[in-house]
Symmetry: C2
Subunit: 228 residues, 2 copies
């Protein structure tokens, strides 16, 4: 029995490839599977957000949060991209990229050196979020993206803080993941060369939480931090 | 005796700030000091390269190498940004960003949550490198940026591989670093709230090198890998 593809749209299992989400090389590394994309995004909290100012590209590191098929980025209302996303109609054209390095791939030949990685690239229009409830939920999501469970264990933003914070939203629509795994792809004639070949694993490591100098010693390290 | 500032230009100790390298917020975190910028770049091998295609931003993760005041990025001659940098006159307008996350900063208030980080943002025109000697040195630098000492311990690229590789150069000229360190900046009235506050350190960790299945067991793990 042939597999029935899910219908396109909200319920689809994968994003529709577009001209700009099909890579110009290493196409076999590309994936449009939603679960794959979500898992790469959810393992991260830092993204690199690109936008265009005066016809030139700008790439800034920033925190993000995901809720379903939407990504949120926040910042000061004084920050340029957030201001521009709010002022522009329909919004600000952005590219949001998330990358995990999983390994350094050392081949016998300099040419075949590579990197094992998982990345997601999202293209789209970032729009200012004005609905108060969506803003609150988005800000919680950004805090929880880095430290799951933290938003409930902190003082929520008050009216003044909310007014000073801009939130923008980017829908997951034009999206691709790219993944490289495995060892080096050396040329057959290079296999006997006397150079070490293989992979050096790279991972993110968390250290022991360092309490603030002014923290009441009675406040214990919460479980969600030990879980990191 | 007043300090004499170094002359502007090649010998200067810092980059000249420009309209786009002065951040719109948190200016006290910005630095134009060359040593600071170099040390942040040299602790990294991955950058996020932004450019503009069809008036929209594109941000891609890629390896880079630094030689003095020049950064190099390489890729397939078939890759779009590298092709465009070669075809465009005077080159391709890019923004190259490097970010290290050093810690998650947890404040009592959701609003004051932050990240300790070191980042460098480079603006400029990327130009194709055509000089064969500069291309070779640049490719070595990219390999050595990730694994110092590795380029000398691998087979150099042959003529065919060199012909398949595009190299672009970006001069360090319009550059800034941004650094956040320290604990949370809570409001005085929040200090007695019962929430944990402090910093969770984040670092890059290398695992034990995993040799290729087809590696001659007589080839030992080289010292430059143990040094990682």
């Amino acid at each position: 029995m042939p597999e029935t593809p899910p219908p396109a749209g909200t319920g689809a299992a994968s994003y529709e490839p577009t001209e700009r989400t099909v890579p110009s090389r290493s196409r076999q590394r590309a994936s449009y599977d939603k679960e794959t994309v979500h898992s790469i995004l959810d393992a991260a909290y830092l993204c690199h957000l690109g936008f265009v100012r005066d016809e030139a590209p700008v790439v800034l590191p920033t925190l993000f949060g995901r809720i379903g098929e939407r990504l949120y980025v926040h910042g000061s209302t004084g920050s340029r991209p957030l201001r521009e996303a709010g002022a522009a109609d329909p919004g600000l054209s952005v590219c949001l990229t998330v990358t995990h390095v999983d390994g350094l791939v050392l081949a016998r030949s300099a040419f075949h050196h590579s990197m094992n990685y998982r990345s997601v690239v999202v293209h789209g229009i970032a729009r200012a979020v004005t609905d108060p409830q969506e803003r609150r939920v988005a800000l919680d999501a950004i805090v929880d993206q880095a430290v799951p469970g933290r938003s409930k264990d902190s003082r929520p933003a008050d009216a003044k803080e909310l007014a000073a914070t801009a939130v923008i939203r980017l829908d997951l629509d034009e999206v691709s993941a790219k993944i490289r795994t495995g060892g080096p792809d050396d040329e057959p004639e290079d296999l006997s060369l006397p150079y070490w070949a293989g992979v050096v694993p790279v991972a993110r490591a968390y250290g022991t939480p360092v309490p603030s100098d002014d923290l009441d010693p009675a406040v214990q390290v919460p479980g969600y931090l030990r879980a990191l």
